[in-house]
């Protein structure tokens, strides 16, 4: 099994090491695990917690249904396709939520809540399936997941769908002979023109982890590194792994209110419990506590210091002004200069450009007002382009990151250039953003996902199959 498996949150690792703040033993390091070598009760302390690990969030105007927005939230990083007998599912006790803020105050105006349940057909076997799975209700499929979707507007909750089926994991030609058919049967159409899918998919993220983990290396820029090596093309270390995606498609009219720009974030929450309540009784489930959130990619990983990560994850974006110093003065900016002494040093303080891109939106593009809140901002009035540019707005493609985020947007290169003050000539001329050269050419050399995305819902590629995952 590959090393990367031990780094639960790949996004995390990406610039993390570069930042020297890769810390995360707490989130990164070796897995969770109970101790074996001593006899007092040692419960796991370090939890990688993949079912609550929101790896990536995407939001874009649907290319084939431009009156709708599609939101993709991915969980469970580094699913090994051949990972049996352990198959992957969402946490049936957790609450997964997609939040939409349509008036720039950092608070939910519309939220979609997903709750999962696991059903075992035959409790006398632990097998995932006892024969080929020909359909979503095939009796050979023993461990199935279903979910409900609830829309929350203010205090008003509407159940949009319940007992919706999730597809099985993609196991192999014997267990899941017609996987594409199973997966498309798991696309659920709800009322009001809403489509939803929740289940295993190919991880659309792409990055050269191997090089970045080696002292922040970027292979195409190897010769400029503090410890130079010959330049080389990048290697996608996420290729071949799956994730679990929640994909929601909603008509724009159900999301916006005045300003066509909406702010989006995803979260995972779990019920809080106590040993005993104040009156000495026990409650099975207390209120939900948000344990992870994700708006803009790599913010938690790169900008938020280790000791604040748990706290940051619990906060509501409306309170993000308390973290503004981490955006204004990113540690990573200084480290780029240390690792690449030949590059011009980007300013490491006073980075109002990052505040604008990540916390308030960019004026004339997707500005939502002065309140800083970490949300993925999407101007729904900008139509999708037929030929998306992986560098999005940096290359003049305003339908891409940081205006929302499409599956193919090259987040690593875009954010690396942003932090290194290499926004490129277009944004420099249009908005006066800094454009140091050659910082505006930086990148890890991995420019696209290994598998093509789908032209229609749910867009994310089919998961890689266990049987042929190493061929």
């Amino acid at each position: 099994m590959r090393t990367a498996l031990h780094y639960p949150r790949l996004a995390f690792t990406v610039l993390g090491l570069l930042a020297g703040a890769i810390a995360l033993v707490i989130a990164v390091g070796p897995g969770p695990q109970a101790a074996k070598a001593s006899s007092h009760r040692e419960a796991p302390l370090i939890a990688t917690d993949p079912t609550a690990d929101n790896t990536d969030l995407y939001a874009f105007v649907s290319p084939d249904r431009p009156d709708t927005v599609t939101i993709v939230a991915n969980y469970i990083p580094f699913e090994e396709p051949a990972g049996g007998p352990n198959f992957f599912n969402f946490d049936p006790s957790a609450l997964y939520t997609l939040h939409i803020d349509n008036n720039g105050d950092g608070r939910d105006d519309v939220a979609y809540e997903f709750r999962f349940s696991t059903e075992t057909r035959n409790p006398n076997t632990f097998l995932y399936n006892t024969g080929p799975i020909g359909s979503l209700n095939d009796p050979n499929w023993n461990v199935r997941q279903f979910y409900s979707v609830t829309r929350v507007v203010g205090h008003h909750e509407t159940v949009l769908g319940s007992h919706l089926p999730s597809p099985p994991n993609n196991i192999g030609p014997r267990s899941t002979p017609n996987y594409a058919g199973l997966a498309s049967a798991a696309v659920n159409t709800l009322g009001g023109g809403i489509k939803v899918f929740a289940g295993q998919r190919d991880d659309p993220f792409f990055v050269d982890l191997g090089s970045i983990f080696d002292l922040g290396g970027l292979r195409p820029f190897n010769s400029l590194h503090l410890i130079p090596l010959p330049d080389a093309p990048g290697v996608d270390d996420v290729a071949g792994y799956n994730v679990h995606s929640i994909v929601l498609q909603v008509p724009i009219s159900q999301l916006v209110s005045g300003n066509p720009t909406i702010g989006i974030y995803a979260s995972a929450s779990r019920p809080k419990i106590r040993i005993l309540t104040a009156d000495g009784t026990q409650r099975h489930r207390g209120p939900f506590v948000q344990i992870s959130r994700l708006g803009n990619p790599l913010v938690n990983e790169v900008l938020i210091p280790l000791g604040e990560k748990d706290y940051w994850n619990r906060q509501d974006p409306s309170d993000d002004s308390q973290f503004i110093g981490h955006y204004l003065n990113p540690e990573l900016a200084a480290l780029i200069h240390v690792l690449y002494p030949g590059l011009p040093a980007p300013p490491a303080t006073g980075r109002s450009d990052l505040v604008s891109v990540l916390l308030t939106g960019v004026p004339t593009l997707n500005f939502t007002g002065p309140r800083p809140s970490d949300e993925l901002r999407l101007n729904t009035a900008i139509p999708p382009t037929a030929n998306p540019d992986r560098l999005g707005v940096l290359n003049g493609d305003f339908a891409g990151f940081p205006n929302g985020r499409r599956l193919g947007d090259d987040i690593v290169d875009i954010e690396l250039r942003a932090i290194a003050c290499g926004y490129g000539p277009i944004l420099h001329q249009a908005l006066g953003l800094c454009d140091l050269q050659p910082n505006d050419q930086l990148g890890d050399g991995v420019d696209a996902n290994d598998r093509p995305f789908l032209p229609t819902f749910p867009y994310v590629a089919l998961p890689k199959q266990g049987y042929d995952s190493h061929t």
């Binding site: 099994m1 090393t3 031990h6 020297g20 703040a21 810390a23 995360l24 033993v25 707490i26 990164v28 390091g29 070796p30 897995g31 969770p32 695990q33 109970a34 074996k36 070598a37 001593s38 006899s39 007092h40 009760r41 040692e42 419960a43 796991p44 302390l45 939890a47 917690d49 993949p50 079912t51 469970i76 699913e79 090994e80 352990n86 198959f87 599912n89 946490d91 006790s93 957790a94 696991t118 409790p123 080696d214 002292l215 410890i227 779990r270 019920p271 809080k272 419990i273 106590r274 040993i275 005993l276 026990q282 099975h284 489930r285 506590v289 344990i291 280790l306 000791g307 990560k309 748990d310």
Partner: protein, 430 residues
């Protein structure tokens, strides 16, 4: 195989005699095995590659405090994976270097805290956990370190506050399992089972954590005699993680309870072969004895002593475990009592109190034992072994009805709580 060799290799560090004993029992040559070790093993979730990466990173920059901290935690993980306590020594070395380079490093501080827990140095763990909380008062993990240490120091109200705080900051496997433990200590088994079920859910999609949570849930069912429910969880653990040693050991106890001694031995041997933890080896000895094979039993008991010495050589305090083992097996009882006293002073938890009570009773000092047994049961924990100890102490003092009451309670909770002592409890009631 890998573990076997690591243990054998590690033994060389303490005594040639120990090494030869280990090898005689396990039939391996430490050196050769150590070299071939990395290739062996089915376990994909191993920190081994992480260790290699971090070592490379440190070769490039020997002053990288954070890499030392991460390496320390990776070594701790290796100790857990292999049962080889020499990793504790390695972990301690690099974690101290990390703290020397960066005194405020949170990972190094909490890494030292969890290392102290693994070594049963609970006062040290408490102070490290508190230091970690000063560095970051909002990080859930540090409350886990503090709470774990307080539990072992017998400071339950404070421990439970720490666990509640942890579960409020970050509900998940780590905090749910601690809530479950708190409820179990208070005798609230049904609530403990509910909390552990949440832990099982939170571990969905993970191998080892899922197996661990299932095993714990099974043990809760076992503690109240629900053997079939326990077995279901143990088998679920093995389905998630084939060969999971804790589930093998737990199933061995279960088969022994059903009178299937041969089956139990074969399960326990698989566990011992993979990770020779002293409690596994001790149970294997007990099973051999039950089967009427005293020579084989003695060999296991001797090995327990070797492993305890290995642990001690790597900084682990084993007084409590050694005292209980020796008392249960009639080994040097006065010495075991001295050990138990030392253990209780160091670790004044209900476990420390109970072992001291039992040590006093087995040395014929039942009047002294009674007070310690009362302390051991002060939380209302539904622990059959502690209730049995109390029953035997009451019997020794001639308190017949109290004795019957405690022995009955022990057997009612779980008629099979111990392959050695359940029959004794039943006999005493006749």
């Amino acid at each position: 195989m890998r573990r076997r060799l690591l243990i054998a290799g590690a033994a060389a560090a303490i005594a040639a005699a120990a090494l030869s004993l280990g090898n005689a029992l396990r039939g391996g040559s430490g050196q050769a095995a150590a070299r071939s070790a990395p290739a062996v093993g089915i376990r994909p979730d191993s920190a081994e590659p992480t260790v290699g990466q971090l070592q490379a990173r440190l070769r490039a920059n020997p002053r990288d405090a954070h890499a030392y901290a991460l390496l320390g935690v990776a070594y701790e993980q290796r100790a857990r994976e292999t049962g080889d306590p020499t990793y504790y020594t390695k972990a301690g070395g690099v974690l101290h270097r990390a703290v020397a380079l960066a005194p405020k490093d949170l990972v190094a501080t909490s890494g030292l805290g969890s290392l102290a827990l693994s070594r049963h140095r609970f006062r040290e763990a408490l102070s490290l956990g508190r230091k970690a909380l000063r560095l970051s008062p909002t990080t859930a993990l540090s409350y886990g370190i503090v709470g774990d240490a307080l539990v072992e120091l017998g400071r339950y109200p404070a421990a439970f506050r720490a666990f509640d705080k942890m579960a409020g900051l970050k509900p998940g496997l780590a905090s749910y399992s601690r809530i479950a433990y708190g409820r179990e200590l208070l005798g609230q088994t049904a609530g403990a089972i509910q909390a552990m079920q949440l832990a099982v859910d939170a571990a969905t999609s993970e191998r080892e954590p899922a197996a661990w949570a299932r095993w714990q849930l099974g043990k809760l069912y076992w503690s109240v005699g629900r053997l079939d429910a326990a077995e279901h969880q143990y088998r679920a653990a093995l389905a998630a993680f084939p060969g999971y040693v804790y589930a093998l050991d737990a199933l061995a106890q279960l088969e022994a309870a059903r009178g299937q001694t041969a089956k139990a031995i074969s399960l326990e041997r698989r566990a011992v072969d993979d990770v020779p933890l002293p409690q596994f080896v001790g149970l294997l000895g007990d099973l051999y004895r039950l089967q009427g094979r005293p020579a084989l039993a003695q060999r296991q008991y001797a090995l327990v002593g070797v492993i305890q010495r290995l642990l001690v050589a790597n900084g682990v305090k084993t007084d409590l475990e050694t005292a209980l083992f020796d008392i249960d097996h009639g080994i040097r009882l006065p010495h075991a009592l001295a050990l138990a006293r030392r253990a209780e002073a160091d670790r004044p938890s209900i476990d420390g109190d109970d072992v001291l009570a039992w040590a006093l009773a087995r040395n014929g000092r039942c009047a002294d034992a009674l007070g310690w047994s009362r302390k051991a049961l002060r939380l209302g924990t539904r622990d059959a072994l502690k209730l049995f100890h109390r029953g035997m102490i009451e019997q020794c003092l001639g308190h017949r009805s109290a004795a019957r009451s405690y022995l009955n309670r022990a057997l009612a909770l779980n008629p099979h709580f111990s392959i050695v002592w359940s029959p004794v409890a039943r006999k005493a009631l006749r």
